[in-house]
C-alpha cells in the first residue's frame, strides 16, 4: 500500500474520532481541543489533495483565527468550563429516523454518482493562478465576500458596545 493511502486513512480516522469527541465530550474545553485536532487533520487531507493554498489557509483562518478566539472566550468565562454539558439524547426515536434517512440518501448518492476519476493535473504553482482568478473572473464574488465580512465586523462591534 503506498504511504499516501496509509496517511489518508490515519487522517480520516483522526478526523472522525476527534469529531465524535467534539460532539460527545462533557467538558466544553475538550470539545474545543478536539475541534482543533479535527481542523488540523482536515488541513492534512487538503495537502494530500495537492491543495496547498487551501490547506495553509485552513490552518491560518480556522485554527489561528476562529478556534483561538473560541478558546479565548471559553477561558475568560470560567463558569462555562465548570458546567457539565448535556450530551444525552432527548428525543432518540426521531433522531434515529432522520439519521438513518440521511445516511441512506448519502450512500445512495455515493453509489450512483459517476465519479470523475482521472489522475489530477500536476500543479506547479497554485497561488499565482488563484490570485489571477480572484482578481479577474471572480472579482465580484470576492469583493462581495469582503464587504459582507466588513459589515459583520462593524455590526458585532456595534452590538458589543454599551449603549448610553
Amino acid at each position: 500500500m503506498p504511504y499516501y493511502t496509509i496517511l489518508f486513512y490515519i487522517f480520516a480516522i483522526a478526523i472522525i474520532a476527534s469529531a465524535v469527541i467534539v460532539v460527545t465530550a462533557k467538558n466544553i474545553i475538550y470539545s474545543a481541543v478536539s475541534l482543533f485536532i479535527t481542523l488540523f487533520f482536515i488541513a492534512g487531507l487538503y495537502v494530500l489533495l495537492n491543495a496547498d493554498f487551501i490547506a495553509i489557509t485552513q490552518i491560518m483562518v480556522y485554527i489561528g483565527g476562529i478556534l483561538v478566539l473560541l478558546i479565548f472566550g471559553i477561558m475568560l468565562t470560567s463558569k462555562i468550563t465548570e458546567v457539565e454539558l448535556t450530551t444525552s439524547n432527548l428525543s432518540a426515536v426521531p433522531a434515529i429516523i432522520f439519521t438513518v434517512g440521511i445516511t441512506t440518501i448519502i450512500i445512495f448518492v455515493i453509489l450512483t454518482t459517476k465519479w470523475n476519476t482521472k489522475p489530477p493535473a500536476v500543479m506547479t504553482e497554485t497561488i499565482s493562478q488563484i490570485g489571477k482568478l480572484m482578481l479577474t473572473t471572480y472579482l465580484l464574488p470576492f469583493e462581495i465576500a469582503s464587504i459582507v465580512l466588513l459589515v459583520a465586523l462593524i455590526g458585532s462591534a456595534m452590538y458589543s458596545r454599551k449603549i448610553k
Binding site: 495553509i56 489557509t57 490552518i59 485554527i63 483561538v68 478558546i71
Partner: protein, 350 residues
C-alpha cells in the same frame, strides 16, 4: 539533498523522516549555545562574570542544566487538567519546529521548498498560540492563565504588522518561495532586498521603505517570540513566570527550547527576506564562498547575528507596559507598514 535522498531511498517515506533531522540537531545545539550566550552576554553587559565554573569559561553550564532537568521529577499540580497539561508543551514546541520546514539553510538543504513558504510560516506561528492557551488554562493557576492570555493577545496583534511588512518585500520580489527569495538576491550585498534588491539605480527610491519594513518585521517578530522589551506575558516581577510557571523538568525545557527555536526561526525569516538568505555578501567574486556548504555558514551567521541583536535588546531595554505595547502596534507599526506597502506598490506600478 532531495535528489540525493531519492537516489538512495527511492521515493520512500524514509526520505521524509531523514530531512528534518539536521534541522532538529541544529535547534538542540543552538538552544544550548544560545542559553549560554545569553547568560554570558548579559553578564558582560552588566559587568558581572557570569557562569564560569563548569568546564573552561563555563561552557558546559547549559549542558549540565539539561542533565539536571532530565533528572528532575515532573511535578504535577493537584487540580490541573491532566490531559491538556501534558499536551501543551508538545504543541508549543512542534509549532516552533514546524517553522523550520521552510528555512533555506542552503541551496541544497531546505525542508520543503513550498511556493507558499512565507504564508506557511505565518500560519504555523498561529499554531503555537493554541499551545500557549492550553498551557495557561490547564495549569489551573491565575498567573499562568494571565500569562497565556497576554501572550496570545500580543501574538495575535503583532501578526498584523509582521504580515504587512513581509508583504511589502513579497510584492517587490513577486514570490513567496523562500528559495526563490535567496536566488533573486544573488550577486553580492548590493542586491539584497534591504538595499532595494537587484535592478538599476532607480530601485534606490525603495530603500527607505524596505529598510523600515525590515525594522518593523524585526520588532514585531521580537514581540511574537515574547522577548524583552515585549516580555509582558512572562513578566517575572508580576506574573512569576507566565505560562510555564507550573511546569517542571523536561516539560519546562520544552517551553525553553520552543522559545529559542522560534528566536532563530524568525531571524532566519528576516535574513531570507531582506539580507540575502544563504547568499555570500561577496557574490560570485570568490566562488568558493558561495558553495553549498559555505551557504549554510552564511545563513547561520546572519541568523545568529539577529539572535545576538535580540539578546542585546533584552539586556538593554526595560519592559513596556500593556498600553504602550498596543500603542506601538496599532498606532505606529501598522500605519507605517501600510504606508510602506502603499509606497512600494505605487513605485512598482509606475
Amino acid at each position: 539533498m532531495d535528489q540525493f535522498l531519492i537516489n538512495i531511498f527511492g521515493d520512500n517515506i524514509i526520505k521524509y523522516i531523514i530531512i528534518p533531522v539536521p534541522a532538529l540537531i541544529w535547534v538542540s545545539l543552538f538552544a544550548l549555545g544560545a542559553v549560554l550566550a545569553e547568560r554570558k552576554i548579559s553578564a558582560f553587559m552588566q559587568d558581572r562574570i557570569g557562569p564560569n565554573r563548569t568546564g573552561k569559561w563555563g561552557i558546559l553550564q547549559t549542558v549540565m542544566d539539561v542533565v539536571k532537568l532530565f533528572q528532575k521529577e515532573f511535578v504535577f499540580p493537584l487540580r490541573a487538567n491532566k490531559v491538556l497539561f501534558r499536551m501543551a508543551p508538545f504543541v508549543v514546541f512542534t509549532a516552533a519546529f514546524l517553522g523550520y520546514a521552510i528555512l533555506p539553510f542552503s541551496s541544497v538543504y531546505i525542508g520543503v521548498d513550498l511556493n507558499l513558504g512565507l504564508f506557511y510560516f505565518f500560519a504555523i506561528t498561529s499554531l503555537g498560540v493554541m499551545g500557549l492557551l492550553l498551557a495557561g488554562w490547564s495549569s489551573n493557576n491565575k498567573y499562568s492563565l494571565y500569562g497565556g492570555l497576554r501572550s496570545v493577545a500580543q501574538i495575535v496583534s503583532y501578526e498584523i504588522p509582521t504580515a504587512l511588512s513581509a508583504l511589502s518585500v513579497v510584492m517587490v520580489a513577486g514570490t513567496l518561495s523562500m528559495q526563490k527569495f535567496c536566488v533573486l538576491q544573488s550577486g553580492g550585498i548590493q542586491n539584497w532586498y534591504f538595499l532595494g534588491g537587484p535592478g538599476g539605480l532607480s530601485r534606490l527610491i525603495m530603500v527607505p521603505f524596505l529598510l523600515s519594513s525590515a525594522l518593523i518585521l524585526f520588532i514585531s517578530t521580537l514581540a511574537e517570540t515574547n522577548r524583552t522589551p515585549f516580555d509582558i506575558p512572562e513578566a517575572d516581577s508580576e506574573l512569576v513566570a507566565g505560562v510555564h510557571l507550573e511546569y517542571s523538568g523536561m516539560m519546562f525545557a520544552m517551553f525553553f527550547f520552543a522559545e529559542y527555536a522560534q528566536m532563530f526561526a524568525v531571524s532566519g525569516i528576516i535574513t531570507t527576506l531582506f539580507f540575502g538568505g544563504w547568499q555570500s555578501p561577496f557574490g560570485d567574486l570568490i566562488p568558493f564562498l558561495n558553495s553549498p556548504v559555505m551557504q549554510i555558514f552564511w545563513f547561520l551567521i546572519k541568523g545568529l547575528f539577529f539572535v545576538f541583536v535580540q539578546i542585546w535588546l533584552r539586556w538593554t531595554l526595560p519592559r513596556v507596559r500593556v498600553d504602550q505595547l498596543m500603542t506601538i502596534c496599532w498606532k505606529y507599526m501598522i500605519p507605517l507598514a501600510f504606508v510602506n506597502l502603499f509606497a512600494l506598490g505605487l513605485y512598482l506600478v509606475l
